[in-house]
């Protein structure tokens, strides 16, 4: 306890030593918090966001349901590369818009006939209209691996797999070392190199602690299958925006789910399967 006090004293040297700042510094790892401690943290964060953004946030800590393991399906024969998903995600999940620009979905363009040639993939493509003849499009985001290398490398256990299969980050525990960014073979994680930049009017105030709550400089973030939505039974934002119905979502443990149907009836593959990461993100061909 003495050393804790000393630590606070040291690190608080330059910061004003308010009660909130102390509480923030002493905040526990999310998974070690009691329900009461979670409530306190949420109250403090909501007050902090109100002061910072002038908006009332509702931060959920809704836990995973039992009997649920989320899976995602993406129909490569339908995707036209329009990037509607990228921007719907940015908006829903409060990503920094510019300087730094953070996006959780990257749509890569591949020549037809060389689908596995990722080295020649292009994600800055910008034609007048899509789809372009001769090309395929493949959105890539966090694949929510069952064996996630990003989780294994984290030196402080700030990232982990939830019981429903979503790989999450406790932004307040992340130290910004970016080992996870380096370990992910899908470029599924991005880093806040600067203070996030979001117009106040565009903030989404319905947030989850482990998901789309506003982040700060120096932390890593990633797709959470819209944890704030799917735990309430809603489809992720990218699924809802897609104009071609390319994106599918459901419970892998439910034999009647859409995701199970497509795995059982369509030609399916997982990206970089040979890495043994066991993604829960299934690319498929419906036609």
């Amino acid at each position: 306890m003495l050393s804790m006090g000393a630590m606070v004293g040291l690190s608080m040297g330059s910061i004003s030593c308010t009660r909130d700042a102390v509480e923030e510094f002493l905040q526990k790892h999310f998974r070690e918090m009691t329900e009461e401690e979670k409530k306190q943290v949420i109250r403090r964060l909501e007050a902090k966001y109100l002061k910072k953004y002038g908006k009332e946030f509702h931060i959920s800590t809704q836990p995973a349901d039992t009997g649920v393991l989320w899976g995602y399906g993406l129909d490569l024969s339908r995707c036209i590369g329009c990037r509607r998903c990228v921007y719907a995600c940015v908006k829903e999940n409060n990503q920094s818009r510019i300087n730094p620009q953070l996006q959780w979905i990257r749509v890569i363009r591949l020549k037809k006939g060389s689908l596995i040639n990722l080295e020649n993939a292009e994600h800055y493509y910008n034609p007048e209209t899509v789809p372009e003849p001769g090309f395929m499009y493949m959105p890539v985001q966090c694949q929510q691996c069952e064996n996630p290398p990003c989780v294994r490398v984290c030196p402080v256990k700030a990232t982990w797999t939830e019981r429903d299969g979503i790989v999450v980050v406790d932004y307040d525990w992340c130290i910004g070392c970016r080992y996870c960014v380096a370990a992910c073979p899908y470029k599924g994680r991005v880093f806040n190199w600067a203070e996030p930049n979001i117009p106040s009017a565009e903030l989404n105030t319905g947030v989850h602690y482990l998901g789309n709550r506003p982040r700060m400089k120096n932390v890593v973030e990633k797709c959470t299958f819209c944890i704030q939505r799917v735990r309430q039974g809603r489809y992720p934002a990218c699924v809802e925006i897609c104009p071609t119905g390319t994106r599918k979502f459901g419970n892998l443990l439910d034999p009647n789910s859409e995701i199970r149907y497509l795995i059982e009836n369509k030609r399916v593959f997982r990206l970089k399967e040979d890495f043994n990461t066991e993604p829960k993100f299934y690319y498929f061909f419906s036609a």
Binding site: P100, Q232, P243, G245
Partner: protein, 167 residues
């Protein structure tokens, strides 16, 4: 007493039969994308004489250019001359516009199967514990010209070198 019971059960069966028939293929679909003020069709068609000859329409519906097996088909193969506010299946059954997926499914059987399973097309809202909406075929595909048209993509991400150059 027995007679009353019998009567009661008959009534129950009588009520449950149409209900189960309605449940058959019951999907929470969105509303069909009618042009404003065009539905119900009978508003105009009620007073018109039915002409079943395949022809080019010169006075009304001129914006509709059929590009959907147009050699083989025309309006009254799907629209219903007898009841303009309904569609018509190949077997003569009249269906509502909200059931148009059954009409499409007559030819596109494999797509229909996928649509019913939620693999083709789009569903939004709550997949569990709330209201959800299934898009009809015609919410995405113009039934008269169903092929998807190319669209403008959203802007690409900013190249990192562009950010650094500015600073």
């Amino acid at each position: 007493m027995k007679i009353i019971l019998l009567l009661l059960s008959l009534i129950t069966i009588g009520f449950s039969l149409p209900a189960s028939a309605a449940q058959h293929d019951d999907y929470p679909v969105s509303s069909p994308p009618f042009s404003e003020g065009i539905f119900p069709c009978s508003n105009c068609h009620a007073g018109l004489e039915v002409n079943t000859r395949k022809r080019e329409l010169k006075d009304e519906h001129t914006s509709i250019k059929l590009r959907h097996a147009e050699q083989e088909r025309w309006c009254l193969d799907c629209h219903n001359a007898g009841d303009r506010d309904k569609l018509k299946l190949a077997d003569g059954e009249n269906i509502n516009f909200t059931e148009s997926y059954r009409l499409c499914g007559q030819c596109h059987g494999n797509i229909y199967r996928d649509w019913k399973a939620g693999i083709h097309g789009k569903r939004i809202g709550y997949f569990k514990g709330g209201k959800r909406t299934y898009f009809l075929c015609v919410n995405c595909h113009n039934p008269h010209d169903p092929k998807f048209k190319p669209i403008k993509p959203e802007p690409p991400p900013i190249r990192p070198e562009a950010t650094h150059a500015r600073q």
